[in-house]
């Protein structure tokens, strides 16, 4: 388009250099392009279909087949498991699985949970089957009437020393697991968060590896009720599901025991730190923040290009209508959100680096930095998803009626970002968790923050 050509004629900076900044370095840009090239040219992925007119089930099948092809690609390329969530960021996942990835929770929660919360013996027992695709998992925490208040979950796991098994039970329908992606019809295993009881004593929420479907027939196992919860605002093939247990027996060895243990006789060893089992949630919240900025970048690019191409108003001296971006109101709708893309991405990337550092410290037994990381991750996930959701809506409005069309992709991007404000910790609840930490810091009832801490400003 000639108007875009004018905009690109003489940039004030080197665009490739700026791309390197956004990606976090030249090597990261190269790695990203290499990955994208493999995805975009993969024989099972390169040809896409429009899914807007498909039925719910057709969309699921289509997205599942593409998610499976993506998994095969990851396997073929031997990608590092820690890189998978970056590879599956919204940019790529919106291409491979436009309506939601039924294997997303398997990749970004189930696998990291096993890596972080299973002990070494358990990792070696399960990981082979996870990577060869025999085990497809999900992470079942939220219940139908219990959400982000994790201590309020009511699914129970009662240990019986005689049989060396846990009795996993859903006391009533309000405690049905509800929401986990992939749980509906995709997964055959789940990490289930349940209230542990040993010696008649409640021990709090702990994770259990539970088979929910037969590996060969995919039929639900005895005592298990499982299915899909139905359509949502967006991401409709994420395959969110429900799950109930009727006194299901789970072997003792299936409690994930890196942080806490139940011995054969039922004796219980507490985790080294109260928040030690929060690792997966922290990881996921940082990933959500990065991923949502990714969606904002796409929306900002769409709105920026449209704002140049679109002309509307009384023709000027040259006979042309003005470009809408030259209206001050349009500039206010679009430009601050482009700035936000840069600021939020770089800041969230710093939090990712911090997370990597703290995780290695925790593995070495030092949990001092964990409370602040947890508080910061809660806060950033909430702030970034809220900001991005509002920004994408503003960008959609900046495109007038055409932004309301599904074909603009802006409705799907909004649905994606606003979903992030709800799942993996509803934002208000997360902000209150951060506030609890901040109030303790302000009141001096916490250990003083370490040098470089994000809360040193409170202790002055």
């Amino acid at each position: 388009h000639p108007d875009l050509a004018v905009e690109r004629a003489s940039p004030a900076f080197d665009i490739e250099e700026m791309t390197n900044f956004v990606d976090g370095g030249k090597d990261k840009t190269e790695m990203k392009r290499n990955t994208w090239s493999k995805v975009l040219n993969h024989p099972e992925l390169r040809n896409t279909k429009a899914t807007e007119y498909m039925s719910h089930e057709e969309k699921y099948r289509y997205n599942l087949s593409r998610a499976t092809a993506m998994l095969k690609l990851i396997d073929e390329e031997g990608m590092d498991v820690n890189e998978i969530s970056k590879v599956m960021s919204h940019t790529v996942s919106g291409f491979t699985t436009p309506d939601g990835n039924p294997l997303a929770v398997h990749q970004v929660m189930f696998v990291p949970t096993l890596m972080n919360q299973a002990d070494d013996e358990q990792v070696s027992r399960w990981l082979g089957d996870v990577f060869n695709g025999t085990i497809v998992g999900t992470y079942a925490q939220t219940e139908l009437s219990h959400g982000t208040f994790v201590r309020g979950l009511r699914t129970t796991a009662t240990y019986d020393p005689a049989s060396r098994t846990f009795d996993l039970h859903t006391p009533d329908v309000s405690a049905a697991k509800w929401w986990p992606g992939g749980l509906g019809t995709t997964a055959n295993h789940a990490v289930v968060m349940a209230q542990l009881y040993t010696d008649g004593q409640p021990r709090g929420i702990h994770p259990f590896m539970v088979a929910i479907r037969d590996r060969e027939t995919h039929r639900p196992l005895p005592g298990i009720t499982v299915g899909e919860i139905g359509p949502k605002l967006g991401q409709n093939t994420l395959n969110n599901g429900y799950l109930l247990f009727d006194h299901v027996k789970v072997p003792r060895e299936n409690m994930l025991m890196r942080n806490a243990r139940v011995n054969e006789d039922g004796s219980y060893t507490k985790p080294s730190h109260q928040k030690a089992s929060y690792g997966t949630m922290v990881f996921t919240r940082v990933a959500i923040a990065l991923d949502t900025v990714d969606a904002l970048q796409i929306a900002a690019t769409i709105a920026a290009r449209y704002s140049i191409v679109r002309r509307q108003g009384e023709p000027r001296d040259d006979g042309q209508e003005p470009q809408i971006i030259d209206y001050q109101t349009q500039q206010l709708k679009v430009l601050p959100h482009i700035a936000a893309c840069y600021v939020l991405r770089a800041s969230t990337a710093r939090l990712w680096e911090h997370h990597t550092h703290v995780t290695s410290e925790v593995r070495g037994g030092d949990t001092a930095l964990l409370p602040e990381l947890h508080a910061t991750a809660c806060c950033l996930k909430a702030l970034v998803t809220q900001d991005c959701s509002e920004a994408i809506e503003a960008l959609r409005l900046s495109c007038g009626g055409h932004g309301y069309m599904t074909a603009s992709r802006l409705p799907a991007l909004y649905a994606y970002a606003t979903a992030g404000a709800t799942y993996e910790g509803e934002n208000t609840v997360l902000l209150l968790q951060t506030a609890r930490y901040l109030v303790k810091q302000a009141g001096g009832s916490h250990a003083p923050p370490a040098a470089g801490s994000a809360v040193t400003y409170l202790s002055r």
């Binding site: 429009a50 919106g94 796409i298 806060c379 951060t434 901040l438 810091q441």
Partner: protein, 190 residues
Amino acid sequence: PADDTPFAVGSPAAYVAAVGRVARGRVTEVAAALQADRQTMPEPDAWNQSLVQLVAAALAHGRYFVVREFAEVVSQQSSSRAIQQMLELLFSVYLAHAVSRAEGDFITYGGLTPSDIRLNRRHLLRLLAELRPHMIPLTDAFDLPDRLINSTLGAWDGDVYRRMFEQASHSPLNTDEVPASFHQAMRSKL
């Protein structure tokens, strides 16, 4: 104040300091309110009395974390002067917009006066005009191929209207010029 840097429109450091003062003010104020309420009511009730302010405090802290980290990123990175200038401009837009969205907080806790607020509003609009010529290069730098953007409005070549017609052609209702439902009995003939 957490940071005594005087506020000055146009100084990113002054904006960052003001964001820090808002965070500190929000947190310490709600902490004090909680402490007072705990003397007269049970903990859950005291907590509930402050929920709205607690959420605002956490968001203010988050905003401070974001701007503090980005300020460090900008100061530490070793790109060309042109990139440095562009990042500073983007940061200035982000900060001025952040202030414009929470003017009450910046007056109450951030050390800004009503006059500063008025100046900031004008400053933001000037910055937008300054950023405008760089909009397309800045979004091109996100380096998004058309197939990943997947939008009729956002493709690289800007051929918006042709793409919209092409997408509309996929509607099943366009398969036949006369949809099958037309051949049912008309209401007037029922």
